[in-house]
């Protein structure tokens, strides 16, 4: 099909839109858009590092070496270390069932999985309090058995898992749907078992999407504030995560230390963005190849 396309049409279709009829308008639009982004996105990022380093590098490093901050780093990593793998496992299983099979109620399941996205993080925390708090559903039983969930690590993990629940699943489901089942079905006819199909056919196909989901899920899990704020005891150096430590320090007017702690989270965000852009770049080639393959057949 593409072979017969006249040269001029190919030129028109393939030439990116660069030359606009109104060069002045173009310049003005670019300027306004970039000024807006500089003011609203770049400046907040710059102010974090500028405030963090306002008292010099020595002060910056000593703020980070504070035992309270070190404990917050540990709490943050501990929460993400449980919440992210849990959501990865769920995302893989849910995408297998929702993307590989066609059944009634599929769309509704996707809506339910997406639900935590549209619920306020504070409500997510409130849910844990209603379940496990002293006056909550399981409160009396938990206090009889001396188990503490609220104002402790388990509650913070549960709240974070709720908030980050859709992240991996919603990347994997559309990708798996897009890729289709042909390879998996071929593997079945060749006698592969379910696990063999998953490890050797599906997982390699979904690898980019999975990495992408893990990246975003981890960024949110490590940075979550509202939900853990409700269920944390908020004791600096004990149940504070990095986000909560930022608040504790800021509220006690240790501004430079608060920004030093915040700079760690900002660096995490920057690393996430760079990796995300890199993945999108790699993924884009793959998508292009897929599209071309489709067009050729």
């Amino acid at each position: 099909m593409a072979v017969n396309t006249p040269a001029i049409e190919t030129y028109l279709v393939n030439t990116p839109v660069r030359e606009k009829p109104f060069p002045f308008a173009k310049l003005a639009l670019i300027t306004v858009a970039m000024l807006f982004m500089a003011l609203f996105l770049l400046l907040p990022l710059i102010v974090v590092f500028s405030e963090a380093l306002s008292a010099g590098l020595g002060e910056y490093l000593s703020a980070l070496a504070d035992p309270g901050v070190l404990s917050a780093i540990w709490m943050t990593v501990a929460i993400a270390a449980v919440a992210v793998p849990a959501n990865v496992l769920f995302g893989i299983i849910a995408s297998w069932c929702i993307a590989r099979f066609k059944f009634t109620g599929r769309e509704f399941l996707i809506t339910l999985i997406d639900l935590p996205f549209s619920i306020s993080p504070v409500v997510a925390g409130l849910l844990q309090v209603l379940l496990f708090g002293t006056t909550g559903l399981f409160g009396p039983w938990l206090s009889d058995h001396n188990i503490q969930i609220i104002f402790a690590l388990p509650g913070m993990i549960l709240a974070t898992t709720f908030v980050t629940f859709p992240f991996v699943a919603r990347e994997l489901i559309p990708l798996a749907q897009e890729q289709g089942n042909d390879e998996e079905e071929a593997a079945v006819t060749l006698g592969a078992s379910g696990l063999q199909i998953f490890w050797r056919v599906s997982l390699p196909k979904l690898r980019w999407g999975l990495l992408y989901g893990v990246l975003l899920c981890n960024a949110r899990a490590m940075g979550e504030f509202g939900a853990v704020s409700v269920v944390s005891g908020k004791v600096f150096g004990y149940t504070d995560t990095l986000s909560l430590a930022v608040e504790s320090l800021y509220d006690s007017y240790e501004i430079q230390a608060a920004f030093a702690t915040a700079s760690l989270l900002a660096m995490l965000a920057l690393v996430t963005l760079v990796l995300k852009a890199a993945l999108e770049w790699a993924h884009r080639d793959e998508l292009h190849a897929l599209k071309r393959k489709k067009a050729a057949t």
Partner: protein, 284 residues
């Protein structure tokens, strides 16, 4: 293929030769029930325990109504401003080539990646009367931090990517031939925008607006630092839930939480309808 051969009449699922349907569906349902649906049901059950009278007497407290109004108008203002600038940013990033475009494109996702507490203290420091931006506005008598305007600024920051990322793919798919034809027929830039481009991207823009609005309404982290947290003036519902919890008023917190859940549902429904509109329009 195989579905057409042996299809049973009232089958709720199409037959497949792939293994693992029953276990994966069971695990999905159980997990979903334990983490998401169960806890939400418990909140609704606690709310039901308040009775209609108790529920509405909490929701009709002046502070709840006042904060609801503040939540709605600030989220609306932030989404409206973002609809204009988000569209502009999406347009510029998709249609034009200029130095730094790739960097700017990656930067759009910053609010997704930057923890809200970090955004909160950064914005609050910038817009405080002695901050970089606040000190420029102070002589003009404009106060942003610790006023409702501060809430709008924080909501704008966190919800910008929703609009840009929803509109961007639609702009990419626009058929440039239409604009070219209109231009050849003598249409001005403004006319082309108003009569060709805008109608094509309107459904996506509204979807982005609704997503941004929903996100702004539930936001807590970035707002607690920059809002004045003054009841009914610069306090929004998530802050109020937190305040109720701090006073151990669990009934109040639960009732407000249910109200917010209800609003989320309505917005989710609106977003789904809008997305169906986008799909119909663009056949994707």
């Amino acid at each position: 293929m195989s579905a057409t051969i042996g299809r049973r009449q009232f089958a709720w699922r199409q037959p497949s030769i792939l293994p693992g349907f029953a276990p994966s569906l069971t695990i999905t349902l159980v997990w979903l029930g334990v983490i998401v649906v169960g806890p939400l049901a418990v909140m609704l059950w606690f709310t039901a325990g308040l009775g209609w009278h108790g529920f509405f007497s909490i929701l009709s407290r002046p502070r709840v109504l006042g904060d609801l109004w503040v939540s709605v108008w600030t989220a609306f203002a932030a989404s409206a401003v973002n609809a204009v600038f988000g569209l502009l940013v999406a347009w510029v990033l998709t249609r034009y080539e200029f130095p730094g475009r790739r960097f700017a494109d990656a930067l759009v996702d910053l609010p997704f990646a930057l923890p809200t507490a970090v955004a909160g203290i950064a914005l609050s420091t910038l817009y405080a009367p002695n901050g970089w931006i606040g000190s420029l506005l102070a002589p003009l008598g404009i106060k942003i931090a610790f006023t409702p305007a501060g809430i709008v600024v924080a909501m704008m920051f966190i919800s910008l990517p929703f609009i840009v990322r929803t509109v961007q793919p639609i702009i990419e798919d626009l058929e440039y031939e239409q604009e070219e034809a209109a231009h050849l027929m003598g249409a001005t830039g403004a006319e082309i925008f108003r009569r060709i481009i805008f109608p094509a991207i309107l459904p996506a823009l509204l979807t982005g607006f609704a997503l941004a609005f929903a996100r702004a309404l539930g936001e807590y982290g970035s707002i607690i630092f920059i809002a004045g947290n003054k009841p009914m003036v610069s306090e929004i519902l998530p802050l109020l839930i937190m305040a109720q919890l701090d006073q151990f008023d669990y009934q109040g917190a639960t009732a407000i939480g249910t109200l917010m859940l209800f609003v989320s549902f309505v917005l989710l429904l609106a977003i789904n309808l809008l997305q169906a509109w986008v799909r119909r329009r663009h056949g994707g």
